[in-house]
């Protein structure tokens, strides 16, 4: 690391220093224009002093700005305009000071004040564009959300161009701001093949074929606290998938003209690439444990009644209004089950295991149409009772272990599209039925249990130490 030289250091103060002359000079112009009204004439003696201070501040800002521009991190075109505007502001403010001393005509002074205001505004705008990017203000008007996917979803990833459709948009949304046409921090540009291959002041940024040696990847992988981590920690970061995508692209030779399908992919990378496809896998994972839809708070009195009956009713997480209910220390009598109905919108997890719940009681359970998980293991529920919940369309988890349900009963659940797992250990389901059910529920994890851990000879014997000779 090279220590900053003094001019460099002064240069870095430019973005702070500039605000001083801007404020002072605007105040001077304001006072000058106010004195048009005789009421404010008392301000007049202050005006030349303000202009002098502002002018000197502007000169110093110009010098520091010039030093900053020498770092080369900025778009030279824009720097040029900003520089000359800044210089003219300093010169004009000093001229207007001399005009005061030479007692120039009042109307002329007013005119110069207006010119100065306009000049300061334009100069300031260019300065702002240099630090924050020229789309800083306009982007706030556009409907752009921070953290939005850097790569727009692609209809068919394998058909897409690896660079043009994936890497380029990623770089554009995450890197161009500082490494693009306007700013070139570290003398690095990433907006185009030639620039990327050329690298920056620290040398090559990309080593095609080796993600480990590529500075581009290394910087992304550094811990966010590291000074060299990219993007800087206050800027939007790349997701793990986006970094993996870049790694894959570099590893496969960082080709700028190939289609994704023409580049080598391992099984894992295929899955990774698929995640950038429109409506991809993510949705499948999203079959969440709790509904995304917000729901109103449940009636506190209704919850209290259930608690009195020994039912454990708590939110599924402390910030959610969705509830779970467990009968682990409660009796599932008709009276208690009735108390569940007021919570039918909020109740999503229900544990009735080891209770005396029967088919009649299931009528109350069937009214809870937002249920996602239900545990009916070792209850008296049969096929008849099970049929009652075949309209509980969000069910993902159904535990029927140790009940008398049969294959006919379970088949009634096939209308439930979101089912993920059904547990059927110790039910009236035979080996033949299992095959049948597996066909009906091709995508559901069916667990029939009955696992055996055979007893091996070694399980009951011990290794003996050799007998000493």
């Amino acid at each position: 690391m090279i220590l900053l030289s003094i001019p460099d250091l002064i240069g870095r103060f430019h973005p702070i220093l500039v605000h001083l002359p801007i404020g002072i000079l605007l105040l001077g112009c304001l006072f000058q224009l106010l004195t048009i009204n005789p009421k404010f004439y008392v301000l007049r003696p202050a005006v030349p002093l303000i202009y002098l201070l502002g002018g000197l501040g502007a000169v110093f800002s110009s010098v520091s700005g010039y030093l900053l521009s020498q770092s080369g991190d900025y778009d030279s075109n824009m720097v040029g305009i900003h520089q000359w505007l800044g210089i003219s502001v300093s010169v004009i403010s000093l001229i207007v000071y001399t005009m005061y001393k030479m007692q120039a005509r009042e109307s002329l002074l007013n005119l110069v004040a207006i010119v100065l205001i306009v000049l300061i505004t334009i100069t300031g705008h260019y300065g702002g564009s240099l630090t924050h990017g020229s789309d800083y203000i306009s982007s706030a008007l556009k409907d752009e959300v921070k953290g939005k996917a850097a790569i727009p979803p692609i209809a068919n990833v394998q058909q897409a161009m690896a660079y043009t459709h994936m890497i380029q948009p990623l770089l554009q949304n995450r890197c161009y701001n500082c490494h693009g046409s306007e700013k070139q921090k570290g003398k690095l540009r990433l907006d185009g093949k030639d620039f990327i291959l050329k690298g920056g002041e620290d040398g090559k940024t990309l080593v095609p074929g080796s993600a480990e040696e590529s500075e581009l990847i290394k910087r992304l992988l550094l811990p966010a606290s590291n000074e060299d981590h990219m993007p800087p920690k206050e800027k939007p970061q790349l997701t793990a998938e986006e970094i993996e995508l870049l790694q894959w692209w570099v590893k496969q030779g960082a080709d700028f003209n190939k289609k994704v399908q023409d580049m080598k992919q391992s099984e894992k990378e295929k899955v990774l690439l698929l995640s950038f496809q429109t409506g991809a896998v993510k949705k499948e994972n999203k079959l969440a444990d709790i509904p995304e839809k917000e729901i109103a708070k449940a009636d506190a009195a209704a919850i209290e009644k259930l608690k009195q009956a020994g039912v454990v009713v708590i939110p599924v997480l402390s910030t959610s209004n969705y509830l779970s209910a467990s009968f682990v220390t409660a009796k599932a009598s008709a009276d208690v089950l009735k108390l569940l109905e007021p919570l039918k919108k909020q109740l999503i997890w229900l544990n009735l295991a080891n209770t005396a719940l029967d088919d009649k009681g299931m009528q109350a359970v069937a009214k809870l149409d937002n249920l996602i998980r239900i545990n009916l293991s070792r209850t008296a529920v049969t096929d008849k009772g099970l049929a009652l919940i075949n309209g509980t369309s969000h069910l993902q988890y159904v535990n029927l272990v140790g009940t008398k349900v049969t294959v006919a009963g379970v088949e009634q659940l096939k209308a439930l599209k979101e089912l993920n797992s059904i547990y059927l250990y110790q039910t009236g389901i035979t080996k033949d039925d299992e095959i049948k059910l597996k066909k009906v529920f091709a995508k559901v994890n069916l667990d029939f249990g009955g696992y055996v851990v055979p007893t091996l000879e070694k399980d009951t014997t011990e290794v003996k130490p050799p007998v000493a000779k």
């Binding site: 444990d289 599924v316 220390t329 988890y397 272990v401 667990d447 249990g449 851990v453 014997t461």
Partner: protein, 502 residues
């Protein structure tokens, strides 16, 4: 000015000066610097959304300290069963297959491995020791498991292995404390205490945090390894037994009727309530609730904790030994407890310290026998939880407190009589299953002799962060105020191991 007025004036002045004298320079510095700083800091934090009460503040209700609470985030696991093999099993004879180490068997250990390292017993230059078991790949995930665990090797597609766990403690007690309390020294709450403090427990007739030990000895770290530290004492682990009375002295003594017992507990509670009225110490309320829980437990615990009412095929599956105290019985009991809503079940099995200083502490005899005693039960536990639909919401963790060296132990420079390995902190294996953990996955890798981790290195804090994450907590936000600052289980470290989360 009259005399009286003068006296009054003097008195006032004196009082003022006395008052001022009470403010020392320290006060001034504290009030001005700290005070202003604190005001500014508070305002700053407030504007960042960090100040004030967050949803993560777990309120501790001294009257019902164990009532179930919702986690701040969606948890995948409702309960945890932690199987700790006290003494530290050898990863090189169980999961971490190192054929290269075989080639070095019997050779002197290269100096590069010894430089700057500290060992518990190894001195001088030890010999390298090849794997003392045959390995094979198993399941679709092609995970390596040795012949020492023939049953468990059929389960590899249900678990996630962490192959590069490391620690900084090479003695049993501190290393065990580090894994379970987040500090190698005494005094911090154990993970089970944190879990019950944060989530309470579903079944108010049973303790929320149960500890079961086997192997003939307590873990080296003693009972403080399931202690509640600075958390309210009601959250400490309750040690139970799988044979005889589940909790010692749970039965009413001879001549004590149920009514008399109730009357005496009521009397004790009444006097405790007076005490509370006088001192307002919330621990007194906890004590009252514990008496009541103990009374309820007298009825429910013997029933739940009796593994004898399980059917024969379940006993066969777990390989239990009726009438004895053993690991298999404890594992079966753990499953029963989780089924009844117990939050955290901690098992310790002692006897894995295979130094090679005696037959029972050797890799070829003692370790093999220890493996035989756990192989069937841990396999049965996973399968049984699975077939009951409970593995989805029960996190099972298996591991020791550190690993063992690729070198053969030479205690005080002299070769041990049996094949054994010394304590090793840089790389060992822990596995997790269920509770939202990936199936059939391996995270982390060690070098070709299993000496250091080369990728996916994790430590005790990472494991704690992951366990808390699966229970629905952010380990950095889950704190308890003590001695003027918020404490967390993971202290100032820990990163959730996202790679093993499904």
């Amino acid at each position: 000015m009259t005399r009286d007025e003068l006296n009054a004036h003097r008195l006032v002045k004196e009082a003022q000066e006395t008052e001022l004298r009470a403010f020392t320079r320290r006060h001034f510095l504290k009030e001005s610097a700290m005070g202003l700083g604190a005001v500014a800091m508070g305002a700053l934090l407030g504007s960042c959304g960090l100040g004030g009460k967050s949803n993560n503040d777990i309120l501790y209700d001294p009257v019902h300290p164990l009532l179930p609470k919702a986690p701040p985030f969606l948890g995948k696991a409702k309960s945890v069963i932690y199987l700790h093999m006290a003494g530290a099993p050898s990863q090189l004879e169980l999961f971490d297959y190192k054929p290269e180490l075989m080639k070095m068997d019997g050779q002197d250990c290269p100096q590069s491995l010894l430089a700057g390292k500290k060992f518990a017993f190894i001195t001088g230059v030890p010999k390298m020791l090849g794997p003392q078991a045959k390995f094979a790949q198993h399941g679709q995930s092609r995970a390596w498991v040795s012949e020492n665990l023939p049953h468990f090797s059929t389960m590899v597609d249900d678990v996630s292995f962490l192959k590069a766990v490391s620690t900084d403690q090479f003695n049993h007690a501190p290393a065990q404390l580090l894994i379970h309390t987040g500090s190698p020294r005494l005094g911090r709450p154990s993970m089970g205490s944190w879990a019950t403090y944060g989530l309470g427990t579903e079944n108010q007739n049973l303790p929320g945090f149960v500890v079961l030990t086997s192997g003939g000895s307590f873990p080296d770290a003693g009972k403080s390894i399931w202690g509640s530290g600075f958390l309210p004492s009601v959250y400490q682990g309750v040690q139970c037994r799988s044979e005889g009375d589940p909790v010692l002295f749970i039965k009413d003594p001879h001549g004590m009727s149920r009514d008399l017992r109730k009357a005496s507990i009521d009397a004790i509670n009444a006097s405790n309530e007076q005490e509370y009225a006088a001192y307002n110490d919330p621990e007194i309320l906890s004590r009252i609730s514990q008496y009541e829980m103990a009374y309820r437990m007298q009825i429910s615990a013997p029933e739940v904790m009796n593994i004898n009412d399980e059917p024969e095929y379940i006993h066969e599956m777990y390989g239990t030994q009726p009438g004895k105290s053993c690991f298999a019985n404890n594992v079966l009991l753990a499953r029963k407890l989780v089924e009844k809503g117990v939050r955290y079940v901690q098992l310790f099995d002692w006897g894995w310290d295979a130094h090679g200083d005696g037959p029972n502490n050797s890799l070829n005899i003692g370790l093999k026998n220890k493996c035989r005693s756990i192989d069937k039960p841990i396999t049965a536990l996973l399968l049984d939880l699975k077939q009951r639909g409970l593995l989805e919401e029960t996190l099972v963790v298996w591991g020791g407190e550190f690993g063992r060296t690729p070198m053969m132990e030479n205690r005080n420079g002299v070769q041990n009589p049996y094949n054994g390995r010394d304590h090793h902190t840089d790389a060992f294996t822990i596995w997790m299953a269920g509770g939202g953990i990936k199936k059939g996955f391996t995270h982390g890798e060690t070098d070709e002799i299993g000496y250091s981790s080369i990728s996916g290195k994790v430590d005790a804090f990472d494991i704690q962060a992951t366990i808390l994450n699966q229970l629905g907590f952010d380990h950095e936000k889950f704190t308890y105020p003590f001695q003027g600052r918020p404490f967390r289980l993971t202290d100032v470290a820990g990163k959730v191991i996202h790679d093993v989360i499904a």
